[in-house]
C-alpha cells in the first residue's frame, strides 16, 4: 500500500490548460499517473492533452469519477479553487500554488475542518508521489524508487535531496508527501506521520522540517507515545536568524521554541533519529533499519 495517491487514483488537474498545468500534466501522464481530465472554467467540452476539460469539479467527479485533484492556478484564485474541489467531492486535494494570502487560507482551513474525509496537501508544495504508481505534483519522477520509506517534508528541492539519498542507499519510497512551506497548510506533519505509521508498506519515515511553527515538535511527541516505526528527522535553518523570512512564508523564527535547535532537541528526546547534517539523511535511515 501507499498513502494518499496510488495507481487507482483518478486525478484531475485544476488550471489544466494553463502553461504550468499543461507542462506538469504532461509529465504526470508520462510517469504513468492516471490523469482523467482537467478543469478550466469556460473551456468545458474541449479536449486538452487528449483528455476532457470540464467547467466545474462537480462535473468531473460525476463524469470521470475524479477523486484526486492537483491545483496549478495563480495565488489570487487558489483558495477558491481548493474550496471548489473540497465541496465538489474530491477527497485528496494537492495545491502546488505558492503565495496564497494567509487570510484566504484561514477561511479554507475553517471549511476543511468540517469536511473530515478530505485531505488538503499544501499549498506551496511539490505534491505527492507514490513511486511506480502515481506522481501528483512537480517532483522529478526519476529520482524515486518504489519501496518502503515514507518521506514528509515542508520543502521542494530538499525533499528531492532526501529522496535521492535514500534511492542511492537502495532504499525505495512508499509515498513522499510534500506538505508545503506556508504558515497555514492542509495536512500537517503530524497528520502525514499518522498516515504513514498506519500504512502497512511503510517501514521507516523521513521527517524533514524547518524553522517556524510547532508542527515537528507536535509530531515528535505523538511519535514518542504512539510511533511504531523508526523516524529519521532533520530541521533546516540551524543558521537562520530570528525574525527573518527564509524564502518560505512559514519559515520564520518567532520565538525560542521554533528554532531548528529547539525542535531537534525535542525530536531527539522523543526518540527520533535526528541528523545534524542534511547530507546524512539516507545513510542514517539505512543504518537505523539494519538495527
Amino acid at each position: 500500500m501507499s498513502v494518499l495517491v496510488n495507481k487507482d487514483s483518478r486525478v484531475i488537474v485544476q488550471g489544466f490548460t494553463g502553461s504550468e498545468g499543461t507542462f506538469h500534466a504532461t509529465q504526470m501522464i508520462e510517469y504513468g499517473t492516471n490523469v482523467v481530465g482537467g478543469i478550466t472554467p469556460g473551456k468545458g467540452g474541449q479536449t486538452h492533452l487528449g483528455l476532457p476539460v470540464f467547467n466545474t469539479v462537480e462535473e468531473a467527479v460525476k463524469k470521470v469519477k475524479a477523486n484526486v485533484s492537483v491545483i496549478f492556478v495563480p495565488p489570487a484564485y487558489a483558495a477558491d479553487t481548493i474550496l471548489e474541489a473540497a465541496t465538489g467531492g474530491i477527497k485528496v486535494i494537492i495545491c502546488i500554488t505558492e503565495g496564497i494570502p494567509v487570510a484566504d487560507m484561514v477561511k479554507v482551513k475553517h471549511v476543511l475542518s468540517e469536511l473530515h474525509d478530505v485531505h488538503l496537501i499544501g499549498p506551496n508544495c511539490p505534491g505527492v508521489i507514490s513511486p511506480g504508481e502515481a506522481k501528483v505534483g512537480i517532483m522529478p519522477g526519476f529520482i524515486h524508487k518504489k519501496g518502503s520509506i515514507g518521506v514528509i517534508s515542508r520543502s521542494g528541492t530538499l525533499t528531492y535531496e532526501a529522496v535521492d539519498q535514500l534511492t542511492k542507499q537502495g532504499l525505495g519510497q512508499s509515498t513522499c508527501i510534500g506538505i508545503g512551506g506556508d504558515p497555514i497548510i492542509g495536512t500537517t506533519t503530524l497528520e502525514a506521520v499518522k498516515l504513514l505509521m498506519a500504512d502497512s508498506e511503510t517501514e521507516g519515515i523521513v521527517m524533514i522540517g524547518e524553522i517556524g511553527g510547532s508542527m515537528e515538535t507536535e509530531a515528535a511527541r505523538w511519535i514518542k507515545a504512539h510511533g511504531t516505526k523508526p523516524v529519521v528527522g532533520f530541521i533546516a535553518g540551524q543558521t537562520a536568524p530570528k525574525g527573518r523570512r527564509m524564502g518560505h512564508a512559514g519559515a520564520i523564527i518567532g520565538g525560542d521554541d521554533d528554532t531548528a535547535s529547539a525542535k531537534m532537541k525535542i525530536m531527539k528526546e522523543c526518540g527520533l533519529h535526528v541528523v545534524e547534517s542534511p547530507a546524512m539523511i539516507g545513510e542514517t535511515m539505512k543504518r537505523v533499519l539494519k538495527k
Binding site: 494567509v102 482551513k109 475553517h110 535531496e161 536568524p241 523570512r245 524564502g247 545534524e276 542534511p278
Partner: protein, 395 residues
C-alpha cells in the same frame, strides 16, 4: 512588508482606533512648526519626538525624547534627525534617521491612575486562526513579560467569522477596566481587528495602549507588518513601502526576482529552493564556515539569475568562497552549469573559490561542463562532497 509607526497609525485611525495627534517632520523647523500646532490644538503640556525607522526599541537607543516646549522639540529634532540609531533590532550598524514624528503627550496626571497595556493581533499557526494577545503589563518588552510572568499574558482566539463583542468585553474585563475606559477599550479592540483584517496584516501590535488619567484609551505606539502575499490586492498599501529602510542588496535581489537575506558569515551560497537553501547554510556551518547569505534562485536558475546572484554575493567583502547548490528537477543541471560558466565569464575576475554542486536531472553532463570549462570552479555531485570542498575553502 514593514511600515513606519506613523503609517501604521494612519491605518489604525481609518478604522477608528484613537491615536494621539502627531505630525511627520523631516527637518527641525518642520518639527517645531508641527509642535506649535499640537500644543495649540490639544492643550497638551508635552510632546514626544520620535525617530521613524523600521525598528523597535527606539526609546532605549535615544530615538524618542519628551519635550515641554517648542524650543525643546526643535533641539531634540536636531539631535534625532540624521543620527544613526542603534537598537536591539537594528544590529550594531544601526539605522540612519531621516524623519521623525512629533506627537501629542497624553501622560498628564489626573483623577485616575495612568495604565499601559500591551495588545497585538497575529496568526496562531497551530490553529490556523488569528488571535489577540494582550497583557496588563504594557510599555515594556513583551518577551520579557512572557518569560517572567506568563500568567499576565492572555490570548483570545478569533473565529474566521470575525471578532465578537463579547470577546472585546472579555479583554476589557481582564484588563480591569470600568465605565468610560471599558467602553472605549471595547471599541478600540473591535477597531483594531478591523484594521488587521481590512489591510491583510500579519502583525498589528500596540505597545503601549494607554489608559489616561481621564479614562481615555490611546494607541501611543504601533507596529504593523503587511502580509506580502496579499499586497497584490492593496495597491494603496504598496505605496507605503520605504526602501530606505531595507538592505540595498536585498532590494536589488528582489528586483532580480531572487529571494535574498543578508547574513554575517564568510561563505556565500546560491541554491534553488528555500528548504534546500537553509539546509545548504547548515552544511556550510557544519563545514567550519558561516553562511554569508540566504539566496533562493527559484525554479528558473539560468545564466542571468546566476550572474545576478554572483554580483549580489560578491558585494560582500567578507565572502571567502561561494557554494552553488542546485538540485535539478525541472531545471536541468547542464543548463544551470552553462549558466554558471557564462555568468562567471561575464563577471570576469571572481577572486574567491567557487564550488558548484549539481544533482538531479543531467547532473553528470553539468559536472562535465564545469570540469571542462577551464575556470577556477570546483564541482561536486553529492552534498557531502560539496561540504568537504567548503571545508578546504574556508581553511
Amino acid at each position: 512588508m514593514n511600515i513606519h509607526e506613523y503609517q501604521a497609525k494612519q491605518l489604525l485611525q481609518e478604522s477608528g482606533v484613537p491615536v494621539p495627534l502627531s505630525i511627520l517632520a523631516f527637518t527641525p523647523e518642520e518639527a517645531a512648526k508641527g509642535a506649535k500646532e499640537i500644543f495649540e490644538q490639544t492643550g497638551t503640556d508635552e510632546i514626544a519626538v520620535k525617530a521613524q525607522i523600521h525598528s523597535g526599541g527606539r526609546g532605549k537607543g535615544g530615538g524618542v525624547k519628551i519635550a515641554h516646549n517648542v524650543e525643546e522639540v526643535e533641539k531634540f529634532a536636531k539631535q534625532i534627525i540624521g543620527m544613526t540609531l542603534v537598537t536591539h533590532q537594528t544590529g550594531p550598524v544601526g539605522k540612519f534617521v531621516r524623519k521623525i514624528i512629533v506627537q501629542q503627550g497624553i501622560y498628564q496626571s489626573g483623577p485616575s491612575e495612568i495604565k499601559e497595556y500591551y495588545i497585538s493581533i497575529l496568526l496562531n499557526r497551530a490553529t490556523g486562526r488569528n488571535m489577540i494577545v494582550y497583557s496588563s503589563q504594557g510599555g515594556m518588552d513583551i518577551e520579557a513579560v512572557a518569560a517572567q510572568t506568563p500568567e499576565l499574558i492572555f490570548k483570545e482566539e478569533i473565529h474566521p467569522i470575525g471578532v465578537q463583542a463579547f470577546q472585546a468585553r472579555r479583554i476589557a474585563f481582564n484588563l480591569g477596566l470600568k465605565d468610560k475606559a471599558f467602553s472605549q477599550m471595547v471599541k478600540c479592540v473591535m477597531a483594531m481587528y478591523d484594521t488587521y483584517i481590512k489591510n491583510d496584516l500579519s502583525l498589528l501590535e500596540i505597545n503601549p495602549l494607554v489608559k489616561t488619567s481621564n479614562e481615555d484609551i490611546w494607541a501611543v505606539d504601533a507596529k504593523v507588518n503587511i502580509e506580502d502575499n496579499a499586497l497584490y490586492r492593496h495597491p494603496n498599501l504598496e505605496l507605503l513601502r520605504d526602501t530606505d529602510e531595507e538592505d540595498p542588496t536585498e532590494v536589488e535581489a528582489g528586483e532580480n526576482n531572487l529571494n535574498f537575506v543578508k547574513l554575517d558569515g564568510n561563505v556565500g551560497c546560491m541554491v534553488n529552493g528555500a528548504g534546500l537553501a537553509m539546509a545548504t547554510m547548515d552544511i556550510i556551518k557544519l563545514s567550519g564556515g558561516d553562511p554569508a547569505n540566504f539566496l533562493d534562485v527559484g525554479g528558473g536558475a539560468n545564466a542571468k539569475t546566476v550572474a545576478a546572484g554572483f554580483r549580489i554575493i560578491l558585494k560582500d567583502p567578507h565572502v571567502k568562497a561561494i557554494l552553488i547548490n542546485i538540485f535539478g528537477g525541472i531545471v536541468r543541471c547542464d543548463r544551470v552549469a552553462q549558466g554558471v560558466v557564462d555568468a562567471y565569464k561575464e563577471i570576469g575576475n571572481i577572486s574567491v573559490p567557487v564550488i558548484v554542486r549539481l544533482q538531479g536531472t543531467n547532473a553528470k553532463e553539468g559536472k562535465d561542463l564545469i570540469d571542462q570549462s577551464g575556470l577556477k570552479v570546483s564541482s561536486a555531485v553529492s552534498l557531502q562532497e560539496a561540504a568537504d570542498l567548503v571545508k578546504v575553502a574556508v581553511k
